[in-house]
């Protein structure tokens, strides 16, 4: 990205202080979101989300696997993000690895639970087929196609949309398997169960520039940030995960304030997302 001149930096900071950002938005107004589902036909579920010039694709693939010994009644979810060099030349070769790793870890914190699997945003108990023996493994892959800031929120939205679009094939387990034998399974090609995404949280990132915080920063605004807090909130208003990124230290009262702001913003975001996803699915059914 081309560097910003001092005049441009002052303009961005001044605008944010006066509640008028460079593209005319207010501090807490996100960019319009555009969601398309079913973009990758080979995946069980997929979605493409556009927020301004930020464009990300998420795909969900389901494979049969074995549950872990610690949680025999739950399936497994793996989240991985890749930054495509089409988004920026610096992602060529291994350049994008650091950012990919950071995004992957942040998404895992926000959407998956702690080590024991408790408190996960994504319901994994519905993924078990035969307790202790067979479960579904969901591989969620994110790809950043074009980057203009706020990648984490866009990826979170894309994953939520992709999960809504996911159809897990119905599995018929052959009766009569006993002991340690792997039961025979028949994976149906016809019938699919829709994955339940009502509890999947949405991620809101608040970026602090100067004394104020903004929602949905563009990459220019992000270059001026002192710190950023990403909070994932679900429909019930519960916080599912929290990550603080960026160098400057924050007063604890500011963090609490940011959390309450995020909760208000996330309500709107979840509503917008849900209606966009419903529209996308309806549009896809028609075509």
């Amino acid at each position: 990205m081309v560097g910003l001149s001092i005049g441009e930096k002052h303009f961005i900071q001044g605008g944010i202080a006066q509640d008028i950002r460079s593209d005319g938005r207010k501090r807490l107004t996100p960019r319009p979101i555009n969601v398309k589902t079913g973009v990758i036909s080979q995946a069980n579920g997929s979605a493409r989300v556009r927020m301004g010039a930020t464009d990300v694709i998420a795909s969900v693939k389901a494979e049969l696997g074995r549950p872990t010994a610690l949680q025999p009644d739950k399936g497994k979810v793996f989240i991985n993000v890749d930054c495509s060099p089409t988004a920026a030349p610096m992602f060529e070769g291994r350049g994008g690895e650091e950012l990919s790793a950071e995004l992957s870890v942040a998404l895992r914190h926000c959407l998956l639970g702690g080590k024991s699997g408790s408190g996960a945003g994504i319901e994994v108990s519905s993924l078990v087929v035969v307790e202790g023996k067979i479960c579904w493994d969901l591989y969620i892959d994110g790809l950043v196609v074009s980057s203009d800031g706020n990648l984490l929120d866009a990826l979170g939205a894309a994953i939520k949309a992709a999960l809504s679009n996911t159809g897990i094939p119905r599995v018929n387990v052959a009766a009569g398997a006993s002991g340690d034998e792997q039961p025979e399974v028949d994976v149906s090609d016809e019938e699919f169960l829709q994955f339940d995404t009502s509890k999947v949280p949405a991620i809101v990132t608040l970026t602090k520039v100067g004394k104020h915080y903004i929602v949905d920063a563009t990459s220019e605004e992000e270059s001026q940030m002192s710190s950023a807090v990403s909070i994932s909130v679900n429909r019930q208003g519960h916080i599912c995960g929290l990550t603080k990124r960026g160098g400057a230290g924050l007063d604890p009262s500011i963090i609490l304030d940011m959390v309450s702001v995020a909760k208000t913003v996330s309500e709107q975001l979840i509503n917008t997302l849900d209606s966009q996803i419903a529209a996308a699915e309806a549009g896809e059914d028609e075509s």
């Binding site: 990758i40 890749d82 060099p85 920026a88 030349p89 074009s146």
Partner: protein, 231 residues
């Protein structure tokens, strides 16, 4: 398995395209050939970044997304196939870009495969051509590419993954249609010479059909841009 459809020449009429997808890139395009979907972004001409590297004025990187193939891939970048395809695409595009008009600069072409169903090489070259046109980079001609094969005693155009894995020959051809010059020719397996001539001719026709389609879409796109400019 029935590989040959009753129609013989199976040019899939559906070849959608989106131009200008990646806002930050100088030029970009999404190209679909059947189920193969590829996105290309062009950055340049810009200052040479790393002088210690070899002085190639056109660089290319080919990557496949994790979810692009039927089974999830573990290592999308840096494996030998990707390196080879990056090299092939670079050489093909270098032949048609007028690099002498832009000395001491570099042009980066990044191609990302979103869905792979055979013919990814060809789809990548076609997408790169459109992206370069979108970026306004001077080229001698469009470069289009198409694959052709021979199964069940019939030459087939644009093989998908199943047909490609069937064990017959697979010819990938890249051509500059107006100049009628071939810039890329690769073949797997073996073919008797006269059949090879047929298959190559079929591939050339396929390339020319793709070129006509690309030209239509680019013209349409330019008209849209002109309309939006208000002239």
């Amino acid at each position: 398995m029935e590989y040959v459809s009753p129609e013989g020449l199976r040019l899939d009429g559906r070849r959608p395209m989106e131009i200008g997808v990646v806002g930050k890139a100088d030029g970009s395009a999404v190209f679909e050939m059947g189920n193969t979907k590829v996105i290309a972004a062009v950055y340049g001409p810009r200052e040479v970044q790393n002088r210690s590297q070899q002085m190639f004025s056109v660089r290319c990187e080919y990557t496949m997304a994790n979810f692009s193939t039927g089974d999830r891939m573990r290592k999308p970048k840096g494996d030998r196939r990707s390196t080879e395809i990056s090299l092939v695409i670079r050489q093909t595009m270098e032949a048609c870009i007028m690099t002498h008009l832009m000395p001491r600069t570099q042009i980066d072409i990044f191609v990302q495969v979103l869905q792979a169903d055979g013919g990814t090489r060809s789809a990548c070259i076609n997408a790169a051509t459109v992206a370069l046109s979108d970026a306004g980079i001077p080229m001698r001609d469009l470069v289009t590419s198409c694959s052709a094969g021979y199964l069940n005693s019939t030459p087939l155009l644009d093989l998908n993954y199943v047909e490609d894995s069937a064990g017959g020959a697979d010819v990938t051809l890249g051509i500059m249609p107006k100049l009628d010059k071939i810039t890329l020719l690769q073949m797997d397996a073996k073919l008797p010479f006269d059949i090879f001539e047929n298959v190559m001719q079929l591939a050339i026709e396929g390339c020319k059909a793709v070129a006509t389609y690309i030209r239509e879409i680019l013209l349409e796109n330019t008209k849209q841009l002109e309309y939006r400019r208000g002239t």
